[in-house]
Symmetry: C2
Subunit: 625 residues, 2 copies
């Protein structure tokens, strides 16, 4: 999401390293894709020996940071996973990078003293498409090429689908999506070719593990980070990203403002295994001292090149905020709440001119295709309150974004569309339907939406409700909201709560859409719960640490984690235990449980059954024991 | 919700009084109902002087505890608000209460030593219907009588609707509900008469402020409390209830087990302004030492009378767990997770007999109508996992609950129906539709449902998503779930988070259904947000303390609460400020904002507008200041 204002606060108490180490109960595996040299990173949760349960493979966004075998050195950055794939296509050239200017870092001066230190080993010779070439994944897809990136995505998306192949029962309502039983590289290619999915992967960010955003793939989530007013150490800047992806963020947006923007971004990108998005107009605004009227196309264009060379994977561009739409917001309760939208509105009004983002759109697209940067077309006029949802301004902009989508696609540039915001439940589906129609099924990327305005402090939840619903309806990526939304800057705990809330919303959407393998994890966790495998229950959960901590607050003893009871009913009476008795009893009848006793002849067989039951009395552990 | 196992833990650190004092920024008002002696308690949020904003009236569940004028003495209990109304109907008699037995308090002995002290002033002579009489609100309603209870409910439900009368624009999707523009006593009567709403109000609990649960009223929420294993002081037991209603619980269920059940309940009821629900089978089970097989109709019946005399307002009765349905759960991933359902399943299997709750249902109904206790027909076979949602066992029970509803209605006894549980989003609506069909629109009362199983520690959120949705579809009351669900016992903070989460879910449902006045609070808060009235924003929120605390973590200075900027963009650039500029500019054009510049002639008028704009330059506070 473009300009939600959730920057991550610096951790209290000074020095602080990036978070490493495996996620509890999990190990990192690398699964080879047959017939390629692609090896896909996944996380495997091993369950209790003796439980008879197979390990559960889950989608892993955390990168090498959770791999004990990986050498993490944030001064060196991550390995260049995709470098060879990019060079092998033979359509790029390296060149002397644009020189860093003082204004790139907020006028810190050429020596950048007083700010974040420069990344020790920046890319001096970035890549770009050779003249006449187009290096976007969409371009390859449309020429019928299945890239290694597409193969990676395919293997990554399948998770447990292979195991289900024979027993697959699809159960869901997908609202017209086309989710395959099994994802192949060719399927990914088709989806990218028709614009229904994107793989945001700047050729100057070869550190990424490829991922797809699209309606027929797993629902993704984004977390926002950004530098704080007080310059913190670079490790903590990088850790904001590492912390987010550890808990499941699929992409991260760097919404830094103020000083150090360039250097902070360099540190983040060089260390990020997930795509990084930005809102270039934020940095451009800093370059003109915060005066929106002083923005020019030249400054903006230069900023795009600066960020393209660093490796930003997608740009939020608010090109749909057109001059004629601005007065449509005058009657709103909360006007224009998007920061990017406001900047452009102010510029348009001041000059009384059409937005240069709209006017220069095709020129921007030329840059995008030279680096394979994806558009995230910003919804600068999104509603900031329930009262303003689904209004004329919002939809006027959405239809313009549809027009721009087609213009970007004409140059084979990847596009996703940003969406609201604040929307009551009964108006959510209309947003999705109109987006699909206006934007030709380009992936939708929404902020929540929040389904009520009255719960500041709980807006991760008000928005999580809307996010789960719109994800079900077809939104491809959900931008997280933290508990601090509307109130202040999120801290580390807030970021974790925001990410986990969105992860559960995205998963709920996958379940409801009938993703073939999504339910495997729910079922594994529920079996663990039923069988009192507490550790498995924790390890299968989205946040094992919190689950265990909550459990331990009531029953801290180590033995309680293996005990066949819980704090709710205690050891004396347990509903799960009784169920096991029902099951054992039904099994003893040596027939199909459903046939055990039919409703019609319940009376008839009752006495006989009762007698048999008493014989088998040892099945029952007396509840008083 | 019947038997969700969320008992409230004793507060750490010993002695602890009930929470009193006004909710911040609010005052208690008592609004007279013309033509009656009914005065309805409400909460009024006063907004900043000079803002031009009228005070906002909100539904108030907190009772006298938030009224500084009220004298709170938990040893005396609350005033008997409804006593005269009950007596004036001339259809009750008082009689010598059933004697308290040692087993009522878990075999503490006749002196009850070692337990919670007895309430000093219990009711020695409870009320019941005179022979041949029926004191249920449904009975009055069906005879055309609008009771003071119904008048109270009507005035309480309206909130801001009177103010909206002329300008009312209905906006929502109500899925076939019949929500009136304005609620009258007669409307309440009609809804109660046809069974579409209930007013749970035992005649022995005259302390209650009447409230309605029904599809055409505001969506309500329930919080569960229960004594802890370690006997805590009585004030803290009472405070669990007071704390819940302070944050918005409309009813409270006392799910106590173990010792002190009788006395704890007496303290709670005598001090509760909201209806209290129980699951009588829990206490009955304690009376037989926890051995489900030893339960008898006689013990159960005696427990019903015991609780009826104390004033319990609704009973969860798991009469739908019939013997033939039990084997249908054998193939489930999580079997029977309802505690009440398990108890009855165990009893049925052990005796191989049909449930005595089902067999004796009409006799139970005889008791209900003598005290005006409402049924909450328990869903003992609700799914405990995504895998088990909407299965044969669940729906077999639901249709039985429909049959029992009609049997209760035949005696003019009020009924609501409990529902799941764990249900993926795409299967939620089916639950609502089947319930409406099977149970003749009797109010639905659901636990969540949780839309995924993989987020223990966050199940207030997984269930809040389902709760908001099913509330929108027509569920009348939502049983809260705390973050500790499945893991341990909730503490004070967990209860607050659970209640607020459900309050926001219920409100989101009201908004989406198109409740005529629900949006007034969202709009007032959004205007406050837009105008940087920070205190108004906090005070209008569901949890003012948390909202302010979060704000202060970033900008603690007192001045920041009146500053016209926030921590997100800071004083230099502010999207809300720019919107104000758009608005001022549109107003200066002295025409309708929509007509300011039409999309078609944007180009034409542009230069002229630009000139005018520059003249009006002082409208703009330079962003750099």
């Amino acid at each position: 999401m473009a300009d939600i204002d959730s920057k991550l606060e610096a951790p209290k108490g000074g020095q602080f390293n990036v978070t490493t180490g495996p996620i509890r109960g999990s190990r990192k595996i690398h699964v080879p894709v047959p017939g390629t040299d692609v090896r896909v990173a996944m996380r495997e949760i091993t369950l209790e020996p003796g439980s008879g349960e197979a390990p559960v493979r889950v989608y892993d966004t955390s990168g090498p940071y959770t791999d004990p075998k990986a050498q993490i050195d944030i001064q060196a950055g991550l390995p260049l996973l995709r470098r060879d794939w990019i060079l092998a296509r033979g359509d790029v050239e390296d060149y002397e990078a644009r020189a860093i200017k003082p204004e790139d870092n907020g006028q810190l001066g050429p020596d950048r003293s007083g700010g974040v230190p420069a990344f020790p080993n920046p890319v001096r010779r970035p890549l770009r498409a050779r003249p006449g070439a187009n290096v976007s994944q969409m371009h390859y897809a449309r020429r019928g090429i299945v890239t290694p990136e597409m193969e990676y995505v395919a293997a990554r998306e399948n998770l447990g689908r292979a195991a289900l192949k024979d027993a697959l029962v699809r159960d869901g309502q997908d609202w017209g999506a086309s989710i395959p039983d099994f994802v192949t590289g060719e399927f990914v290619r088709e989806e990218v070719a028709r614009g229904r999915a994107i793989i945001p992967n700047n050729i100057n960010h070869p550190e990424t593990e490829p991922m797809a955003i699209g309606r027929n793939f797993l629902v993704k989530i984004n977390a926002n980070i950004g530098n704080s007013a007080v310059a913190s150490d670079v490790a903590s800047e990088v850790d904001k990203m590492v912390w987010s992806i550890r808990h499941g963020a699929d992409t991260v947006m760097d919404l830094s403002t103020g000083r150090n923007i360039h250097d902070t971004r360099e540190w983040i990108i060089r260390n990020s295994p997930v795509p990084i998005g930005t809102v270039p107009i934020y940095q451009a605004l800093e370059k003109v001292g915060g005066i929106a009227e002083d923005l020019t196309w030249e400054i903006f264009r230069d900023t795009l090149i600066e960020q393209a060379e660093q490796g930003v994977d997608y740009f939020t561009i608010h090109a749909g905020v057109r001059l004629p739409f601005i007065p449509l917001t005058a009657k709103r309760v909360t006007g224009i709440v998007s920061r990017g939208g406001s900047i452009m509105a102010k510029w348009c009004l001041a000059h009384h001119k059409e937005s240069f983002l709209y006017e220069r759109f095709d020129e921007i697209t030329e840059i995008m295709k030279a680096y394979d940067i994806a558009y995230s077309l910003g919804d600068g006029l999104r509603p900031g309150s329930i009262a303003d949802a689904n209004d004329e301004a919002q939809f006027a902009e959405l239809y313009t974004l549809g027009e721009l989508t087609k213009r970007a696609w004409a140059q084979d540039v990847q596009v996703m569309i940003e969406g609201p915001g604040h929307v009551p439940m009964h108006k959510i589906k209309q947003n999705m339907d109109k987006q699909l129609e206006a934007c030709g099924e380009a992936p939708f990327y929404t902020l929540g939406p929040l389904v009520t305005d009255i719960a500041p402090g709980y807006d991760h939840i008000t928005s999580g409700i809307g996010a789960a619903m719109i994800g079900w309806f077809g939104t491809a990526m959900l931008c997280y909201v933290t508990p601090k939304e509307h109130l202040g800057l999120p801290d580390r705990d807030d970021v974790k709560v925001g990410v986990v809330t969105y992860k559960l919303a995205a998963h709920a959407a996958d379940l409801a859409k009938g993703h073939p393998a999504a339910k495997m994890r729910d079922d594994a966790l529920s079996r663990a719960r039923f069988e009192f495998r507490w550790r498995d229950q924790f390890n299968l959960s989205l946040d094992p640490d919190t689950a265990e901590a909550y459990h331990d607050q009531t029953l801290p003893a180590e033995g309680a984690k293996t005990a066949h009871f819980c704090s709710m009913c205690g050891p004396k009476f347990c509903s799960m235990k009784i169920t096991q008795e029902v099951r054992d009893f039904a099994a003893k009848q040596n027939q199909e449980p459903g046939a055990f006793i039919a409703a019609e002849d319940a009376e008839k067989g009752m006495e006989e059954m009762s007698a048999r039951y008493r014989e088998a009395g040892d099945l029952y552990i007396p509840a008083a024991e």
